[in-house]
Symmetry: C2
Subunit: 454 residues, 2 copies
């Protein structure tokens, strides 16, 4: 594995060594560690070809700002030389007037292509596709196709996926891998050596996660994006890897109960981070305030049986924990398409008994704890301690069942109303369950303890 | 996109159509929906080549059981024809005596290779590598290399990554893509057209997530696994996609506060699922019991100021929520290697002020809520309501700060002692924070309310 060589600010020898020997990904990593001004100076000094390679890496931080800092004509030439999907990525983030300026510094054809890609919503196949793919007409031979690939190789993001397109209608006829070409006789006809099957394709609006599932399922290196039977671009497996890692990060952040950070944790500004966390934290806090209102409603019961308060944190957290488990299961099963929106009732039918069994387990542990403490003399729960134990046990069954059901249904509800199911965070579920948990606990107490403590 | 055609149990015409036309991934999907007995019968009837293709798909459920249900000699031939990394996967899950029987039904060389792969721990590069790669000596030309690839193509998992190996020492000299070969003149020497750089390689014990990061960083289609400068296998991007999706599922489940399910949610047996959830739920419950003990310790304060109990759920949940946010941030940053174990103090230095600011935000909201309720007459918090509001506000600052610090440090601690940082689940953090949260709350109350309510 290549060692990462740091750019020692201004050390010309070190820089020259890096530029000559290092993998472009290592250079990007080194540039990302430098202040933006220094990175910008270094990029301006680089040979043009090397700068293009560097800007082609999606890992380069602040690419739009770096492009803006270059002279407009050089920036325009860079955009034109970059792979078109990366160029679109950069243009997406440019601020005005640089964006308009740069779009006018490139050819109308490229401008048109970039704007078309930008027209697709973020997270769709269209938004990450490249339009630079290899296509050939159906009457070519294997040798001629190979010659063509050799000619266009430098301007294509991938040459491992090749498409046969009808020259009149531009309809996609076949899709095959370079492997097939290598394995075939040079004088064979393309149509004779490629599989006579409908190629796996995706529409431009398909969600990237779904595209990833397809690429994985069919073991593809790229999948063509098709609209009205015509190929408009292709999504490669590297784009998918990048996107999957980003989406996973977003999901983990959301599941932790916050807005997704779009930047690395250590690089993000302190106050932007506070903004992303504070919003949800306040929203959850406001929701959780209902617990104070619920407790106020049970003020009389609290005063007569102060012993009940001892178990409030224990009982509430159990509901939250069982809800968090159910939510994480359902979020992941939905993401993997093991279940779909219509399966909500099958999940509910599974979670109901699961909640009852898990609640009964915790209930037994809770009753055992109270009994043990009472007999061992660690604490005196009063003359009606059996009733208190029964209240805690029954409440746990109710709350864990309610938690499992709520946690498993919340992702379905969010998905149904158009949100990301991963927004059903553990804290969100816990907040939902807490208020109801209190009501369940005090309701059980009112039934079991009426006439004795209450 | 191919439509998925269901196998109508026993409908010969439908089955024939599927086998003739469908992509192997669709057949696997259809087989997965059938009971294992029927899947086994269908597989036994298939042409051998087709069965090999099907068993080569990692998505096939119950592959070990299906292999076991076949006659031993056919099973042995299947194993030998499958790609060696898949064969090792299947053998890993076989039960005895089938495992020993089958390992003796294959050639000693293959047995040796499979056992070597199985010797690497799960989740390591060695455990998912294939040993079927394309390698050539350094004195070959481009044309000769292409001819060789054509010859061995059928027995190699990928031909897109090619390795130049010293014939005497077996040292890895160069690594390059098929693309480079296609773009070069046929009579050029291999060593002249391939980059004179140390290839990116991984050691067999490297964690798969780290391999994924490298493959993504350097935009590779495969990475060689190297031990003592010798190539012992390679990991392809499809293996990485599969593994990443599995690892993400495991992380989401763990972060939800349970053991990772190894099977799809709807397919898993009810009681195995209860086992995976119940263990952690009980452990968390036992930990949370400390809250009851803590509350018992503050019994006197609870009796004199029952109004304090109203805010217990609100305050505790805020600590858990801020902890869950910090944990999700750190888990992900560790997984992406944005930070490493030694950066714990940099994270702590960031989380301390973040916790204080976030806590102050919630504290202000809390004080405002109490003030509003008091003035509007929704609830009477008594003559000392200002002191109660101050207690809630100060306690929130302390608890949110403590939650952020605990949540951010837990993944580091778990990683340090050899656990997966993703085991720092939201419920785990909440449980840790709850007990301390109560202690902080009552300590603040004792300071502020001494001489008035307490």
């Amino acid at each position: 594995m290549n060692e990462v060589s740091p750019i020692a600010g201004g050390d010309a020898v070190a820089i020259a060594r890096i530029l000559a020997n290092d993998h472009v990904a290592d250079i990007v990593e080194a540039l990302n560690r430098e202040p933006r001004e220094l990175a910008s100076e270094l990029l301006a000094e680089l040979p043009f070809e090397r700068a293009v390679e560097i800007f082609d890496q999606p890992e380069l931080d602040d690419a739009p700002e770096l492009i803006e800092s270059l002279p407009r004509d050089k920036a325009g030439r860079l955009l034109a030389a970059m792979s078109v999907d990366r160029a679109a990525d950069v243009v997406r983030e440019l601020s005005e007037p640089a964006r308009t300026d740069l779009l006018h510094a490139i050819t109308p054809a490229l401008r048109h292509t970039i704007l078309a890609i930008l027209g697709y919503p973020e997270g769709s196949a269209g938004s990450i596709m490249t339009t630079e793919y290899v296509s050939v007409p159906p009457d070519w031979t294997v040798a001629r196709t190979l010659d063509h690939i050799r000619e266009v190789e430098r301007t294509r993001e991938t040459i491992y996926a090749i498409y046969v397109i009808d020259p009149q209608s531009r309809t996609l006829l076949r899709a095959f891998g370079l492997r097939r070409l290598i394995a075939s006789a040079p004088d064979a006809q393309i149509m004779a050596v490629t599989p006579d099957k409908a190629p796996v394709t995706v529409p431009p609006l398909m969600d990237v996660e779904q595209v990833a599932q397809l690429i994985r399922k069919y073991d593809l290196l790229a999948v063509p994006v098709v609209e009205n039977d015509r190929i408009i671009g292709l999504v490669t497996v590297d784009d998918i890897l990048d996107t999957m890692i980003e989406e996973t990060t977003e999901d983990v952040h959301r599941f932790g109960g916050m807005e997704a950070l779009d930047e690395p944790y250590m690089k993000m500004g302190f106050f932007s981070m506070i903004g992303k966390r504070g919003g949800w934290l306040c929203a959850l806090f406001l929701g959780e305030m209902l617990t104070a209102s619920a407790m106020q409603g049970y003020e009389h019961e609290l005063e007569s049986a102060i012993v009940l308060t001892l178990f409030i944190p224990l009982i509430m957290s159990s509901g939250g924990n069982s809800g968090s488990q159910a939510t994480s299961l359902v979020i992941r099963a939905l993401a993997l398409r093991e279940i779909s929106l219509g399966d909500w009732w099958r999940v509910a039918v599974r979670e109901l008994p699961a909640g009852i069994v898990l609640g009964a387990m915790l209930g037994l542990v809770g009753v055992a704890r109270i009994t043990l403490w009472q007999y061992a003399g660690f604490y005196d729960y009063g003359p009606h301690w059996e009733l208190i134990a029964a209240t805690v046990g029954m409440a746990l069954i109710g709350i864990v069942t309610f938690g499992s059901l709520t946690g498993s249904m919340l992702p379905f509800i969010l998905k149904r109303i158009g949100f990301d199911p991963a927004s059903a965070s553990a804290p969100f579920v816990a907040t939902l369950v807490d208020v109801t948990g209190l009501v369940i606990y005090f309701s059980v107490a009112l039934v079991i303890l009426r006439g004795t403590l209450l």
